[in-house]
Symmetry: C2
Subunit: 348 residues, 2 copies
DNA sequence: GAGCATTTTTACAACGATGGAACGACGTTG
DNA sequence: CAACGTCGTTCCATCGTTGTAAAAATGCTC
């Protein structure tokens, strides 16, 4: 039922190729014919068949976005930005969810054959170095966030060590002495980096490194944060501050602390990581590291684009490791409002 | 570089079609040849070219999911479920974001030509009846949530009137007399339905309908909820309860109320709508209507699938209007914990 | 072992779009 | 006015896959 080039051509009284030329903006078409074709295009409501075009051209117009789970606010927000950035460059985005498991990350990489996509943006969590060896990289691949260290693949992320150091430095700066960390995880590279930043900051502030103030979290959901916090509160000498490796952990931790009868920030200061929209409205609002998400999305899509075209011309385009900016948003979970709660909303 | 049927055929010493037959599980292939082909398949690592296959078969393998914004938790959660449901049926999902504007909803419907997708799931917000007239519906279309009343299109949603009545009935049931509503919006069909349920419940409880207890919200973001709440608090006689048309509005409303010095639920009870994950962990946790989101996702994808196949055989498959179940999750924002806050997490 | 039915394999033509070559129809130039 | 370069158009092949139909191989019966 849908119109094809052939239909349009018949209606306009020209050859199929001429219509194709008009559609693709080829210069040399007689004005009269162009007019006729455009009219026919309009009346038939012609839309190119992307499958066919892809078959012929070898490009698909799709890029894959592989991430743990769309329902996690950080990834939802990131995905929204990636889609927007990709669309500006004429790409559609296919989203693949891995639940953060190695199996599904690997299969996403191979199953989405090179036939289907022009590139992939991957936010890995469990992928090991050797998985990349198996991956015949025929399309550009960019990793976002997590990074398997010894694989030469384009990468976009913030400086995790510095960000963590900034966050924990802030806690030390407001006088906290027993600063815990939630989110350590041997399988996550970013966890190690954030832990490193945490340690750096403690050392810098002349505070001791206590192993049992560092709590592991397998998943990074609210539930795990609450769990970890309860664990910390069971200590003889509970912490007076906690740095959580993402906002969800922090939200969970705050919940557990409040249920335990603590006041935030008086008894316990909390810092998160990601600046999800939720963190600006939680009660108390959450101090957090705010990565520039749209810079990340933009850089990732841009890299796919550049490497895609560079492949043809200049094969020596070096592997990129792009660091995007971040800031620390200081909110009520670390600094109580001096006056009574005001009638102003939290900053966006 | 990627292997095609031709390559495999050459390697196995048979015709292209025989390989195709093996790949597609056609029965009549000599065991010896089948073995050889399978071996060749394995050594080349052949993957079918989906674009080509779809071109031939007339299917695309994609369905579109058109929604306002992925960064809104409800839609992020829904999208995650739709993707999972679609994948079980061999579909990939293309996500289109409309920001809830009529223009972009309309253009998503037309631009995603029938060439590109086998069906579309649409969560509309601003679309008017007449927009559907223009839409040459050549592929199955399912509307989720919102529903343009007089258009015969498959639809999946919960019973909004009943849900709202349940929520407000709960507020009346715990003794609230001045129950406000946040989220009225002339352009949203669900808003009218929820308002209707709100009014039904008030009437049922013998409470007066006060127009200025109903506050409009253009967007349904946290910000708008806070804004609306401040408006209500400026009243001479502020409400003792508020029913918000989604969780984000409720979160914003709670924020504004707390900033204003109110205690929740003692001074103000709050009910939301959607049961986003955030609502179970907010402080206080939020009482909310919990639609069965995976039932919605499942039903929507299933409808696309059934209508797609029904089109061939039985053109008289009637328009469906599926109501999915919901529950009311009662949490701290309406019912204070009787004992001191316990060391238990909120229910999931 | 001829005749016939049944398997198994292959050749060919599509699906819709586009790159390239070929072909006309011009207007210029010498 | 013949030779030539430009412009505009059409024809053909092709991307990888699969449905159709025809061809080839096999098995069975008498």
């Amino acid at each position: 039922m849908a119109a094809t080039l052939k239909d349009v051509a018949a209606l306009a009284g020209v050859s199929v190729k001429t219509v194709s030329n008009v559609v693709n903006g080829y210069g040399f078409v007689k004005p009269e014919n162009r007019r006729r074709v455009e009219e026919a295009l309009a009346t038939t409501g012609y839309r190119p068949h992307l499958g066919a075009r892809n078959l012929r051209r070898g490009r698909t117009g799709f890029i894959a976005l592989v991430l743990p789970e769309l329902s996690i606010p950080y990834f939802g927000e990131l995905a929204a930005l990636v889609i927007t950035a990709a669309q500006r460059r004429g790409w559609n985005v296919l989203i693949e969810q891995t639940q953060g498991t190695r199996d599904r990350e690997r299969s996403a990489l191979t199953a989405m054959g090179p036939h289907m996509i022009d590139g992939a943006i991957l936010s890995p969590q469990a992928l090991a170095t050797e998985d990349f060896a198996a991956f015949h990289r025929e399309v550009p691949l960019v990793m976002v966030g997590e990074h398997a260290v010894d694989v030469p693949i384009d990468h976009v992320a913030i400086d995790n060590v510095l960000a963590a150091r900034t966050a924990v430095g802030h806690l030390a700066g407001i006088g906290r002495r027993r600063i815990a960390a939630i989110g350590q995880n041997p399988h996550r590279g970013t966890a190690s980096l954030r832990l490193e930043g945490y340690r750096d900051a403690l050392t810098e502030a002349g505070l001791p490194l206590l192993d049992d103030l560092v709590v592991t979290a397998m998943e990074y959901h609210r539930h795990d944060g609450a769990e970890a916090m309860r664990h910390l509160l069971a200590r003889q000498e509970p912490p007076d501050a906690v740095f959580c490796f993402n906002d969800l952990l922090a939200i969970g931790a705050m919940r557990a602390a409040v249920e335990h009868g603590l006041r935030i920030p008086e008894d316990l200061a909390v810092v998160g990581f990601d600046n999800t929209e939720e963190s600006a409205y939680s009660i108390p609002s959450l101090t957090t590291i705010a990565p520039d998400k749209s810079a990340i999305a933009e850089a990732a899509v841009d890299l796919i684009s550049r490497r895609g075209t560079a492949a043809a011309e200049d094969a020596t385009f070096p592997v990129q490791d792009i660091q995007t900016p971040f800031t620390l948003k200081i909110r009520e979970s670390t600094v109580a409002r001096t006056t009574q709660l005001r009638r102003r909303g939290p900053e966006a």
